[in-house]
Amino acid sequence: MSNPKVISHQRFVCQSIVERIRTLVLKEEAQIYSSTIEVALAELVREQMVTLARRHVSDSSQPNLLEQAIRLTETNLLERLNHYFDFEPYFEMVREKMKTSAQEITKLQEQLKEARFQERIGFSERIDDDVAVPFEIVEIGLRDALEGLVAIPLAEQGCYLNLEEIKNSYEVEGAQFPFQIATENFVFIIDDDGRIFVSTDNFSNSLIEDARGMLTHLARRLYVVT
């Protein structure tokens, strides 16, 4: 079995929208309003808002976070499409649907900024050294009550998962994503976007460090370029 390729959720949704629009254009049905494209666009815009809010990136030329996310999503899609497409009928609906989410994310953004300043939120660490594919280890939850750790591959174009190599050392359960690796103390979950998750509910600090060490070790071996 060859190594499966994984791409981020945002990239996957983006690709799907682009492919769907190309098919509609080929069939000369670009004017048809597809509900699947609409929900996929809403998903992308929401993800974009969350990314902007986490990074505290604001654009003074845009009236609010929702508009900023919509413009970025549109620009990104048009670059991939390589031809003009009128997204406005879809974005009209997305604006309506995402209004409340945008308000919530905007409010939480300020609270996150404050909590980070007070060092109450888990940290993330980028791993670049001696790896085929850089990745990030993100602590989930509050500093003194971490709920889990997640490894996220950072390759823009995606990467491959060397599952065969992992299977030489661990019993990998499941025939499809999400795969599960159960060790004596931990259960690692490998999903279709390359994320590896491990729950650390009620773990002692030393056990969390063990989980982090093993997660980093797994990510180093799992993420490859071919």
Binding site: K97, Q176, P178
Partner: protein
């Protein structure tokens, strides 16, 4: 490990049945006619091999697929099963009469959000494991619960769940069938790919054993 036993059926709807579904989705009086028509097709559920999943893997999938604001739904439901089993008479639990105000001859209900969240996580799991699907969107406060892509097809997945009987889980599908059929039919007309509507209804039998019915609506 959590065991999930499965039964599945596939409904191929004719044009007339799709039209009836559309009418039933609009008018409740047509619902009976639609259900009668589907019952006449006599498409029965067939058991599939049970699947097993680590609780922390299901927890991960609940976070991925649920929009319920509920903390640790698997723990919540385990606590409720412990209460329902009489375990609260043993040392180590809160004092009794906690639920006394709810007692009126009826069964004490668990958290609806926890049950719904587990149903959504289970539906996402089956979308990935049974259909090799990948999440395209998790619409907020919208229908259906999950939109996936699988081998060139669009999957529209609606999750249901109950802490009641297996029969109740089956009934939840019957009650939503017209709506799903009408929606899948409309989406198929507008989508550039084949569309399958999938209703996934899970009965929480025990904290570590669920039974799930799957109905595919093929347009």
């Amino acid at each position: 490990m959590i065991q999930i036993s499965l039964e599945r059926r596939s409904l191929h709807l004719s044009r007339k049945e799709q039209a009836l579904a559309s009418a039933a989705a609009q008018r409740s009086t047509m619902q009976f006619q639609f259900q009668k028509q589907i019952a006449a097709k006599a498409v029965t559920y067939r058991p599939l091999n049970s699947i097993h999943i680590q609780p922390s893997a299901l927890k991960f999938l609940i976070q991925k697929y649920s929009e319920q604001l509920v903390y640790k739904p698997l723990d919540e439901i385990q606590y409720w099963f412990a209460y329902s089993a009489g375990a609260f008479l043993e040392p180590g639990y809160v004092q009794l009469y906690y639920y006394a105000h709810l007692l009126s001859g009826k069964k004490i209900p668990p958290s609806k959000s926890a049950v719904a969240a587990i149903g959504e996580g289970t539906a996402g799991l089956l979308g990935q494991w049974l259909y090799q699907g990948r999440k395209l969107a998790r619409p907020n406060h919208d229908y259906p619960d999950i939109v996936m892509e699988a081998q060139g097809k669009t999957l529209l997945i609606e999750a249901k769940a109950t802490s009641g009987s297996v029969k109740q889980a089956e009934n939840l599908i019957e009650n939503d069938l017209a709506r799903m059929a009408a929606y899948a039919f409309a989406c198929a007309e507008l989508d550039s790919r084949p569309v399958i509507g999938i209703l996934v209804s899970t009965a929480l039998i025990r904290h570590n054993h669920f039974h799930t019915y799957i109905t595919e609506v093929v347009i």
